[in-house]
Assembly symmetry: D2
Homo-oligomer: 347 residues x 4
Amino acid sequence: MIIVLKRDATQEEVDHIIASIQEWGLEADISRGKEQTVIGILGDESVARNKPLEAFPGVDHVMQVQKPYKRASAEFKAEPTKIVIPPVNSKGREIVIGGEEIVVSAGPCSVEGRDMLVEIATKAKAAGAGILRGGAFKPRSSPYSFQGLGVDGVRFLTDVRAELGMPIVTEVMDTRDVELIEEYSDIIQVGARNMQNFSLLKVLGGTDKPILLKRGLSNTIEELLMSAEYIMNSGNDRIILCERGIRTFETYTRNTLDLSAVAVIKNESHLPVMIDPSHGTGIRALIEPMARAGIAAGADALMIEVHNNPEEAFSDGPQSLLPEDFAKLMQGLEKVAGAVNRRIGGR
Amino acid sequence: MIIVLKRDATQEEVDHIIASIQEWGLEADISRGKEQTVIGILGDESVARNKPLEAFPGVDHVMQVQKPYKRASAEFKAEPTKIVIPPVNSKGREIVIGGEEIVVSAGPCSVEGRDMLVEIATKAKAAGAGILRGGAFKPRSSPYSFQGLGVDGVRFLTDVRAELGMPIVTEVMDTRDVELIEEYSDIIQVGARNMQNFSLLKVLGGTDKPILLKRGLSNTIEELLMSAEYIMNSGNDRIILCERGIRTFETYTRNTLDLSAVAVIKNESHLPVMIDPSHGTGIRALIEPMARAGIAAGADALMIEVHNNPEEAFSDGPQSLLPEDFAKLMQGLEKVAGAVNRRIGGR
Amino acid sequence: MIIVLKRDATQEEVDHIIASIQEWGLEADISRGKEQTVIGILGDESVARNKPLEAFPGVDHVMQVQKPYKRASAEFKAEPTKIVIPPVNSKGREIVIGGEEIVVSAGPCSVEGRDMLVEIATKAKAAGAGILRGGAFKPRSSPYSFQGLGVDGVRFLTDVRAELGMPIVTEVMDTRDVELIEEYSDIIQVGARNMQNFSLLKVLGGTDKPILLKRGLSNTIEELLMSAEYIMNSGNDRIILCERGIRTFETYTRNTLDLSAVAVIKNESHLPVMIDPSHGTGIRALIEPMARAGIAAGADALMIEVHNNPEEAFSDGPQSLLPEDFAKLMQGLEKVAGAVNRRIGGR
Amino acid sequence: MIIVLKRDATQEEVDHIIASIQEWGLEADISRGKEQTVIGILGDESVARNKPLEAFPGVDHVMQVQKPYKRASAEFKAEPTKIVIPPVNSKGREIVIGGEEIVVSAGPCSVEGRDMLVEIATKAKAAGAGILRGGAFKPRSSPYSFQGLGVDGVRFLTDVRAELGMPIVTEVMDTRDVELIEEYSDIIQVGARNMQNFSLLKVLGGTDKPILLKRGLSNTIEELLMSAEYIMNSGNDRIILCERGIRTFETYTRNTLDLSAVAVIKNESHLPVMIDPSHGTGIRALIEPMARAGIAAGADALMIEVHNNPEEAFSDGPQSLLPEDFAKLMQGLEKVAGAVNRRIGGR
């Protein structure tokens, strides 16, 4: 950590800062430039980071040198993390996220009933999807919108899971529901709006299911890794990070899918990365090019919204693919995956 | 709601859209232009808003005409809402947020102990603060940062509340803590990161304490009003909206305090508005000018971080004012309040 | 165009609006809903767009139905535009941007001298680059930074152009320099900071060289197309649009490369699209994954900064590839191009 | 400047970096921490800033310690700069921007003719406006929009200037027009879209008229100061900085007026600051609260669009005030100015 002093900092102020640093068990190294004096703090920066250094008289500003995340960092664990989802039953197979295979999770935005779910899941599986997605508890910006089927939705998901031998992923929005979702879902999803719901993250650290952690609409990549750190620090290190679009000034797309985040995370962390081009663009015609681009950028997994009747979808109809369009998409993805020495799982 | 059709939409597609609209109990009005055909939906837009119209063949895009919020809107209730906080005890007085008086809430970012809280609260009250703020449960982006004293923090707050006759506001982060905070706090705060924690909002709708709802870092004013709508729709319409800075590309300030939001909310809603220049700027030297500007823009209340020893603050030290600087700030605010025909409460 | 009226708009106000619309030679279509009344304007929206409709009493707001660009739109010209660069001399070949071949433009950020340019260009060409890039007039945010060699830089570029038979692209920043750049450069580049330098765009409309128009850091895709429209409306319709990163809250990358813009432009326009992953990320390690992703997303061309001695580069050293790394990048791109039925030109 | 090394940087790499720093005539100071090693560069950072340090092997990243601007900085000149506009003729008075008086510039977005200009200017002057604004060359995002009257517009401005004894400000968009605008206008305006048109800035550095430099829609405050630095470095240090709204995700307002920029500039620079609430909000009803807030935040000047017939304005009608509304606004501003010990000039 580097402390940049004010030009008019007094010797007394400098002494006080250095004494404080030493009191915290750290070493201080002072560089007096002609124009500016800086103090470097040697040792574990995490101690100093919790001190309000900018509140000390004589301090102009403070710059961090070390990354604030540890367990999530590539330094902590050089080898990429592989998340293994064991076979659901005898009809299923083991799924590995973060390996050579690119895993595709597909399904409706909301679980709307049993029949639609069976139909969509059957077709998605046939097209190569490895995981069934579907929302039972739905975060909606309006209280007048469909809020999800709740427990019934979870029941439909587990029925189809058993029937098709297909692992499922569904979102949890409330600490009170974690136990339920942990019991029935193969992967627990944290939605973008809850990426910094720290109470929820801590509880999820106590579960033993993999966590799909979506990047918040206005959260930096560093903050995403810090949220992963919360879960890891509470005991669960099986985390999949998901880029699903950030909020920018551009209004044509619903969000701006930040594919450079994939490459950044690959440099900074050992955790696998998923891309969600459905929410990331909000426009059906953009899903295929962005799915291809996501794979080319190095993503380990994809999440795609598929609906058998988008016109009657309770949510996200306009950005859902028909099962037959999903099947075509998967064919195209296979070639791109091959070009970067990966393959689409299940195909 | 206006449906803009694709240029090559067929008559069959148009008929199908119109039939669907009529099925939903709404009326359709078609305008055929030379270049583009649009269908207007007459009647309550909230029905159509839940239909995936953009998923219908032939539809190019859909534009909303009506505002999605109702109870929070100025149309629903023309008269400004006043939030009345009854006197805490015989040492206290009634506080009204949204009236002529501008109410100032002051206190430390985190409750760190009993003594510091008594000292800060006593001095803040003497300077004119009407409400004591202090965090017991703290949302921190790092799991390695101080997470708040929790229940102990609440106890210190209630002690000081009784001692000084000063109402308190503190944040709730978890649905499981709502009951506790509701019992002890005069106002329940929803932090920026939880503005779209819809589970929490619904539970808060069932409480009978006023809610201080902070705008999320990347949330639009409309989304803020929709989150208020969630709480109102669940039964609690005593809500104070708080602008505390949004996330932009500017890096000099911690956030960009969007003061135009004050004026927008005053036009669109009946709810009172608070400004938080401490979090909104993150820089001590900017708090005074932004507090003044907030009042000039029409804010009904302010929230200011005050700490008796910023150098040892567990959080937000650099943006905390010393009690004596807070007292000076309050003097300056009085004049600006007078210029817009308001006065600073408690002075 | 749709005019949404205020709820309390009077009949007199409505009549006045309709009369004005008819005076402008357009037709008005009124839809009276229970909650809101809207007026649709039929006919060419471009007339109404220049009228301050929101300034009329009784108007709440105005929504545009038609796209504001014409010549740049896919409706205007269904077939993709191909930009043909004729062979420079007998050593060169014809380059087509917007065809099956993906064209790669490579070279240093700034032209720093003749020798470095020859070396870089020779190696880039050998690796498959079709066009040599290099800045002679440099837009730098600091007046104390290297501002480019100016006319000397152009001379070096034209020397190397002739020597290698390689077409060149260089930036123009000033209307007074257009004639010079037009004479010597095969493609004229408009930098991101000048995307809305309308004086410059109009002058470029009078040239007969292709224009490489870079998207501004905070400009929407629609505004990019409108800037292309400026050039086209002034007589030059040979335009290549370039996505080079937009400004967001994310600070890890220099900019956020918006690859969805590629797919959006492909839907909305007939113009070819280039991607600049060097400026788009500002980080050497991210160039390869983003170049791959750009091709997978459908880009027609790439621009990559290459320098033979990044440590001594006058600008953008940290994001420049060494010629040997560029050669490796090109090999990898070939496979991705093949996966989307394209090929890398020159290889 | 601080160079943070990679964890695996070799001694050879470190030696090479230090040798290079010394070659540039600077001193290097190395701090070896347990986890990370950093090198501090002592001496004038501007030399090192032009070296591509991040391109050196072993370097992780580089952090700047000193501000990149000099002449624009508060360190360079402690006393606030006052821009003096001498009386236009015997009917006029001296105007000082940056003194006790808050100067208001008012007038139409575009000069549309002589009569409208006389009427607006007469009424604006009567209400207390000190400077007449009006666009002759207009930057418009569409080539199909009114582009300004050009030279005729300038002529109308100078006529009214002489008639009323009122100094004028008008925008220059092209280096070729600088001579014309310099001759006739009292202040030369650089629009937001040209804030980084460095060719234009350099030419303006050679004029001897004050420059009104508007902040670009996506430019940081530091970049604004760097653009001022360009002009100052070319010889003209009479600059007024103008905050006119930045581009964010919020869509209710046209832009987000960043009032904290006023306070930041007051801390970092000696240059006076103007606020433009008309462009900053784009909504008539928000101009008054934002103008008041701007003054409370410390602005030295305001720019307000006034039109006598907004319904027929060629541009920006919806955000223009009627002369009578402008007069009312000015009355309200007087009280706020008094509260911060300023007064509105001309009243």
